[in-house]
Amino acid sequence: MISATETMRVLLVEDSEDDAVITRAVLSDIPGVKFEMDWVSCYEDGLERIKHDHYDIDLLDYHLGSRSGLDLLREIHEQGSHPPVIMLTGQGAEAIVMEAMRSGASDYIPKQLMSPESLERAISHAVEKNQLQKNLDQHHYELEQANAELLRKNEEIQRFYHVLAHELKTPLTAATEFVEIILEGLAGPLTKEQQEYLEIVDGCCDSLKQNINDLFDTTRLETGKLSVIPQPDDLSTLIPKVITTFVPLFQNKEVTLQYSLPADALSVFMDQHRIRQVLNNLLSNALKFTSKAGSVMVKVEEDVTNSDHVLISISDTGVGIRPEQLSQVFERLYQIRTNSSPAVAGLGLGLFLSQQLVKLHGGELTVKSKLGEGSTFSFTLPKVKVGESNITA
């Protein structure tokens, strides 16, 4: 039902004067609403009125001399917003009706069936539909605005991260280096106590460095900007290199560190920098969760379940992981908590990043563990087959 308390302005574009008279009469018979109807008889006058006057509804006859109401509808629709349009058609004009609805008409009435009831229903329907469309357009506009704002904010955050990275990393590089310079005696001899304290500072710098790198890698991973460039490379060179850097740390904690490699050279596709990062993370974790007199074993072997891959596993005799925690350890921000080592935390990004990095190599990182007995983290890397290295290297 139309519930307009004010007068509704109607434009009728109709080439037959008789039909115009009838339409005016039908409108005046609609109860409860006052209509003020303007009538024009040709296409051009109709276009002019719709463009420059404000109507609540347009009634367009299909036949308008040499042109049609459908052409007029298309023209005003192309030009942007217009009042709701009701097409007035002859009987059996289904094709025209379909085309009119597709071109933006709100409703249609076969002239022969026009009555106060049918016209009221069509106007009511058209006005309501128009209002809904307006609301939808408004929501659409608001969403577009909100989206543009989000994109702008996101760009701002990316720029901020870029500056933040620079501002955190540069002073940390200098701090680490000066500590090293002093530790190496380049600035004069040190007492035992000074040496000990500086080594603590050095360790703190390392943790900071690790956290900053993990944080930025995670951001880059989530924005799709972290990429790996796997190249044919030798695992049997990388593994001993990484192990060597860990030996002093394991000795300090009195944890045994061993590794075993197959007799033949092991060529895999890897981004050495990134696989080193994965190995560092898994070895740090193994050391973190293994207590004095325990042991950690790094093993490289053929993947028995997939002969195209090599399997690298890091097993420890540490505290182990509860079965219910196993599925969560690779989640971002997950921190393994144990009763025996409440202080062992970290950002909770290391395993998440390691798994994602291995995935980017086309491999898989998994874990097996038994509480109180230890854990084994294993990952696979694609093997370089004979002849392949020459092509890709």
């Binding site: 870029h162 990275a165 620079h166 990393k169 540069t170 002073p171 940390l172 590089t173 200098a174 701090a175 680490t176 280096e177 000066f178 090293e180 310079i181 380049l186 600035a187 710098c205 460095k209 900053i212 930025f216 890698d217 880059r220 900007k225 990429s227 190249q231 050495q272 920098h273």
Partner: protein, 129 residues
């Protein structure tokens, strides 16, 4: 003969730390805190190697490297880039410019020194991965 290394880096602390390290290894170290001065110093007295920061106020290290490479006087000098940015494009750009090293801050000075030594001993080897 003592090898001369030009360090172009806007952070005074990093410059100082690099200076201590490189001088302790017997290198002659020349310093510039921005790209313009870096270009000038490289032209005046071409060094044997350049350690070049990428993000500097008033000039990008990559642009400086391009200018150095296009000059016959400085085109053959090996360049090692240092940057706090993790943008992969930079590594690719550095590689395209024939850089002999690319170090992301916070970098390991030991590795940096090893690259410096290798580049000075075997100037034709490209070490960027």
């Amino acid at each position: 003969m003592q090898k001369r290394i030009l360090v172009v880096e806007d952070d005074e602390n990093i410059v100082k730390a690099l200076g201590v390290r490189l001088r302790s290894k017997g290198y002659d170290v020349v310093v510039s805190y921005d790209a313009v001065m870096g270009m000038q110093k490289a032209m005046e007295q071409p060094p044997d190697l350049i350690l070049l920061d990428i993000m500097m106020p008033g000039g990008n290290g990559v642009t400086l490297a391009e200018r150095l490479q296009s000059s016959s006087k400085t085109g053959q000098i090996p360049i090692i880039f240092m940057t706090a940015s993790k943008q992969c494009e930079l590594r690719t750009q550095a590689h395209a410019l024939g850089a002999v090293g690319f170090f992301e801050k916070p970098f390991d000075f030991g590795e940096l020194l090893a690259t410096v030594r290798a580049a000075l001993e075997h100037p034709s080897v490209c070490l960027v991965g």
